[in-house]
């Protein structure tokens, strides 16, 4: 082919695609960006085309309806920020609770939930700044702290998907409007959710941090502190009421990453061996509680299966009563007909655990297990899973306060925590203490005060960090009471 013919062959494609770009630009097609919200310039809010002065979120990717924010109408506007827990806060319920408490003559409330499942402080901080600029809130509530490693893992996944030649091509194609139009055309109706592996297969997710040392974990959580600080200071500059919450976690979920530095390999081997000896002592019907396998963890979806009426006749496990007017046992959990087989398999073990109805032989066996775990800890003093298991044995042997300390330490030492812990909640409390103008909603403390012995469990929680829906409503009552406190009472 002569060079001239090569030009003739390519020219129609060049002209056609240039025209397509022009037409798409005239039609107002915009690129959505490929950063999945990590780019500080990603646009989380866009003017609502259907209503003058209103806004619509651009953050749910088809998985949930986008949130429409009407123009200000004189009500006290409260914005909620955070991950999936915040996303589950029912704005209508909270709004009604706030309005019920408002003083005569004071404005009504408008609660807007900007929580998004999987968001950690990196993306919450970007959304927060944009919402401050565009939505003119009176009050901002930040409830974030479970997702720092969830978000970090996802960011790593994005990097993996966008690395290599294909990733470079996608990045380059991102400059073309036709590419974005094709994305809109090809995007699955409910986002890419169908592509996700089941939660019980998430070992790969935990394995992302298999090389993390505890120092790296601490360094990563420093980012959390910086992001929170940015948000608090931005709220202050804007002159809004800034509320930050500690997050409620389930101490009865084992840590996710238990790595030790390579230099401690021999000590780790001895630690693991002692753990194995301990597990060999544990009665068979309690063994599942000592497991950290993904298939032995309860997940959100385990409580919300399609109802199976045949389960209505089965007797569910009996857990513990709660104080402070909160329903205990499993009264706040979804209906048992919706529980998965995994819930039915694991809850009886928790019933036995809380009842502590051990025979003399079983108690002796747990004492032996406890001894092995103490020996394991001497080999690797900061081994998260050993701390967790010592929490279980301490509780079974009757020492609930030691158990709570072990559980809290296990969560603190987790190299890739997927729930708030002493570090994150401690950060929240410290930042609030340094800033008198920040209001601290200490949700963890409020809930622990109601939990028997301060030990929160599956009565309230679905997994490591999600409250049952009805427990969320109880928390909203607390939050409404907190937000409604008159200034002079604070």
């Amino acid at each position: 082919m002569r060079p001239r013919h090569l030009l003739f062959a390519l020219l129609p494609a060049l002209v056609l695609f240039a025209l397509v770009e022009l037409v798409l630009a005239l039609l107002g097609v915009e690129g959505r960006g490929l950063s999945r919200g990590f780019d500080p310039t990603a646009s989380y809010l866009a003017p609502d085309p259907d209503r003058e002065g209103a806004w619509v979120t651009q953050m749910h990717d088809g998985e949930r309806p986008e949130t429409r924010i009407p123009p200000r109408d004189g009500r006290r506007r409260v914005l909620l920020f955070g991950g999936s827990n915040t996303a589950a806060f029912p704005p209508g319920f909270l709004q009604a609770e706030l309005d019920r408490r408002r003083a005569p003559g004071s404005p009504a409330h408008e609660v807007i939930n900007l929580g998004r499942a999987g968001y950690g402080s990196e993306r919450v901080a970007i959304l927060f700044q944009q919402a401050l600029d565009l939505l003119e809130p009176d009050v901002v509530v930040i409830y974030s702290g479970h997702n720092e490693f969830v978000e970090a893992g996802f960011r790593a996944e994005l990097g993996e998907r966008l690395e290599g030649p294909k990733g470079a091509l996608i990045e380059a194609a991102g400059h073309l409007l036709l590419f974005h139009a094709l994305c809109d055309l090809l995007r699955p109706e409910e986002g890419a959710r169908g592509e996700r592996p089941r939660p019980e297969q998430w070992q790969w997710e935990f394995d992302r941090f298999a090389e993390y040392t505890f120092e790296q974990t601490r360094a990563h959580l420093e980012r959390y502190r910086i992001n929170l600080e940015r948000m608090l200071n931005a709220g202050r500059r804007r002159g809004v009421e800034v509320v930050i919450g500690t997050v409620v976690s389930n101490p009865l979920v084992p840590p996710f990453a238990n790595n030790v530095p390579a230099g401690q390999a021999a000590a780790l081997e001895r630690c693991v061996a002692e753990n194995a000896l301990a597990l060999a002592q544990v009665p068979a019907d309690l063994a599942v509680l000592f497991s950290d396998k993904p298939e032995d963890r309860l997940h959100v979806n385990d409580w919300r299966r399609a109802a199976r009426p045949q389960l209505a006749d089965r007797t569910p496990a009996v857990l513990r009563p709660y104080g402070g007017g909160w329903e205990g046992n499993l009264a706040l959990a979804p209906d048992p007909t919706r529980w998965s087989d995994r819930v039915w398999r694991i809850l009886p073990a928790w019933e036995r655990f809380h009842a502590r109805d051990l025979s003399a032989e079983e108690r002796a066996a747990i004492e032996r297990a406890h001894g092995h775990l103490e020996a394991a800890l001497r080999h690797v003093p900061d081994h998260p899973l050993t701390h967790f298991r010592l929490g279980l044995t301490s509780y079974l042997l009757g020492d609930a306060s030691a158990a709570l300390e072990f559980f809290d330490e296990a969560a603190r030492l987790d190299r890739a925590p997927r729930k708030g812990n002493r570090i994150t909640n401690g950060t929240v409390r410290a930042l609030a203490a340094e800033r008198p103008w920040v209001r601290l909603f200490d949700a963890e403390r409020l809930v622990r005060e109601r939990a028997p012995g301060g030990l929160i469990g599956f009565e309230l929680m679905e997994d490591e960090c999600h409250l049952h829906d009805r427990a969320v409503e109880r928390l909203m009552v607390d939050l409404a009471a907190f937000l409604s406190e008159p200034a002079e009472a604070r």
């Binding site: 999945r36 974005h180 979806n301």
Partner: protein, 58 residues
């Protein structure tokens, strides 16, 4: 016998002739370009916007 040198067809005429006579040669880049973009777009939308997608139908 004419000594007149045959006039070379204009650039546009040559281009038009090419379009008429060799449609596959200019349609192919369009198809390839569109196909590549569609493949990249499809790959891009397979990545969700958040790690959690709480499917309730497991």
């Amino acid at each position: 016998m004419s000594t007149q040198v045959p006039k070379r067809p204009s650039w546009w005429a040559e281009f038009a002739l090419f379009l008429r006579q060799r449609p596959l040669l200019w349609l192919l880049p369009i198809a390839l370009w569109l196909g590549l973009l569609a493949f990249l777009a499809w790959s891009a939308v397979q990545t969700p916007s958040s790690p959690y997608t709480y499917r309730l139908d497991f």
